[in-house]
């Protein structure tokens, strides 16, 4: 069976959920090989987690430079393996950076690119949900090695035993004239909350929340559900919540099991970022708000009454 390369998303040795989803998808096409790009010792740290989701091989592309230069070390590692391992496909998460890595890799290898698929079958046919979920498209790469980005939350992760045999990959030296150096990082200040694009539950607040202080209502519900907090652009523009939490066409695209919209009208640009959520709940005091058109369950009412009551009910159930 051919190998399928999966680029591992991790932060300091902690593997992100989307990687498990990618390994699950890779098993449909062939034998998953996880590609870890990081500082020396990273692969050893993540190996067990990757084995649990069926990684047959774990390629360690490790160097000090691997995390100090933007995207190029990842592209280099995948391009090297594309040559030596003759994989059937390369799967990369459809995050901002993942899409960039995939685009560069496809350009370098002169091969086909399939972007932001929400599902994939054994023949490598990808399902894309485009224009905010208005269209479903099935597409396939015709020539060369298919490079495919998969939307986080699109495929459900399933455990499987993998041998996770480690193999080292030599990274070429970084050409500083052709790469951007990362001189520092600031992690998102989401506290203990899961990352927005990774979370199974997202609770978002809109202009209806009214102020930065009142966003506590949104945060409390999110925390009780173990979810992430999102915001509409109107809420971000009004200064209620930071921009990195914006959901929508010009913000993040999320696809959680449960999306709760509080005081959000449901503009097309907002829907573009959340319409593929499995279950959508809306609370809005305007019965005509378009968000109700896509909500599985909607409450016409004041979010300051409804959300705290829901928080309490959830907390009670959890005991």
């Amino acid at each position: 069976m051919s190998e399928v390369l999966v680029l591992v998303d991790h932060i300091d040795g902690e593997v992100k959920k989307v990687t498990f989803e990618l390994l699950t998808a890779a098993r449909r096409i062939g034998e998953p090989s996880a590609v870890v790009v990081g500082t020396p010792g990273t692969a050893a740290k993540v190996r067990d987690a990757l084995a649990r989701y069926g990684a047959a091989k774990v390629y360690a592309a490790e160097s000090e430079d691997a995390v100090t230069y933007l995207t190029t070390p990842k592209v280099d590692a995948l391009a090297t393996l594309a040559g030596s391992a003759s994989p059937a496909a390369v799967l990369i998460s459809a995050t901002v950076e993942g899409k960039e890595v995939a685009g560069r890799l496809a350009a370098r290898l002169n091969s086909g690119l399939l972007v932001d698929v929400v599902d994939i079958d054994a023949d490598g046919v990808g399902t894309q949900s485009i224009f905010g979920g208005a269209f479903v498209v099935k597409a396939k790469v015709g020539n060369g090695l298919p490079v495919i980005t998969v939307r986080p939350g699109g495929v459900e992760a399933e455990e499987a035993d993998g041998a996770a045999a480690e193999a080292a990959v030599e990274l070429p030296a970084v050409d500083a004239a052709k790469s951007a150096r990362i001189t520092g990082r600031e992690q998102i200040v989401g506290g203990d909350r899961p990352e927005l694009t990774e979370a199974s539950v997202v609770v978002s607040g809109g202009r209806g929340v009214g102020s930065a202080e009142s966003f506590a209502v949104v945060e409390k519900l999110a925390d009780t559900l173990g979810g992430a907090v999102g915001a509409s652009r109107a809420a971000v523009d009004s200064g209620y919540y930071p921009h990195q939490f914006q959901v929508g066409q010009t913000g993040k695209t999320v696809s959680p099991q449960l999306y709760i919209a509080l005081g959000i009208s449901g503009a097309i640009q907002h829907r573009a970022g959340m319409q593929t959520s499995k279950t959508i709940i809306a609370v809005n005091k305007d019965a005509e708000a378009p968000i109700f058109e896509i909500a599985d369950f909607g409450v016409v009412g004041d979010l300051f009454q409804v959300a705290p009551q829901l928080t309490e009910a959830v907390a009670k159930r959890k005991g």
């Binding site: 269209f135 498209v137 790469v141 150096r181 097309i268 279950t279």
Partner: protein
């Protein structure tokens, strides 16, 4: 500081065609609105850097006649000249072909220090074009930035992604893409609009760029659509008026769905 600003990415032709088939014109308008808005921010940033460091700002657009609108807007904001790559052979170009054409066109501008583009909608299929350009041109990729400054021959920037903020440094020339938080674009002045009419717009074809038409457009596309269908619209589910019990009712619903 010679800057090339990319405006109006090539429309995603096949998906657009599907949209018009189904007459989903509203979706298309909203998609276009995004492009225009982020274009203007890219142009604004180029003009600001020019004000501080001198040089020339060239606008580059690829696409059908519709692209001239975006070019005019950029010129009336203050850009110096423009290149419009327009060719029937480009119809149906995918992301990679588009990047190839843009890379060639950038190559026709002399002494480029910086290429600036909008990051485009993050759910857009073309979100990676600036990164691909960096790959093809062999330049540092300084993308998804909310702040950028030039210090001698170094570009410094703040990149914002799902993972947080990364501080970047690279040597010029480089490829930059900006996010919607970068600036507030200026409005073209009346003088600017008048002046724009006299500015030079070079129109180039695929052959002018030394590319084979077979490399671009639909025939050059490396992935093909097997089927496309409008998704059955997500239907509205249950809706209740809050009678003081709305929160508890949601909880019940979530229990029923095994979500809590």
């Amino acid at each position: 500081m010679n800057i090339v600003v990319l405006v109006k990415q090539v429309p995603d032709t096949w998906s657009e065609r599907k949209l018009t088939d189904a007459d989903h014109t509203l979706d298309r308008e909203s998609a276009d609105a995004v492009l225009d808005e982020i274009n203007e921010r890219a142009v604004e940033e180029a003009l600001k850097l020019q004000e501080a460091h001198g040089g020339e700002v060239t606008v580059l657009a690829m696409g059908p006649d519709r692209a001239t609108e975006a070019i005019r807007k950029a010129l009336s904001m203050g850009a110096d000249k423009a290149i419009h790559v327009s060719d029937a052979a480009l119809h149906g170009s995918d992301v990679l072909a588009t990047a190839k054409v843009l890379a060639k066109a950038i190559g026709t501008v002399e002494g480029v220090d910086l290429v600036i583009a909008g990051n485009e909608a993050t759910d857009g299929r073309a979100g990676a074009i600036p990164a691909i350009l960096a790959e093809l041109l062999g330049l540092p990729q300084v993308t998804q930035v909310r702040k950028v400054e030039i210090d001698g021959t170094t570009v410094k920037a703040e990149r914002e992604t799902e993972e947080g903020v990364a501080f970047l440094e690279a040597t010029l020339p480089a490829v930059v893409s900006v996010t919607e938080k970068i600036n507030e674009p200026r409005y073209p002045s009346f003088k600017g609009i008048m002046a724009a009419k006299k500015k030079k717009v070079d129109t180039l074809s695929v052959a002018d760029l030394g590319l084979d038409p077979a490399e671009v457009g639909l025939t050059g596309a490396w992935s093909s659509v097997l089927e496309a269908a409008p998704k059955p619209p997500r239907s509205a589910g249950q809706r209740v008026e809050d009678d003081g019990n709305g929160g508890a009712q949601i909880a019940e619903y979530l229990v029923g769905q095994k979500l809590i």
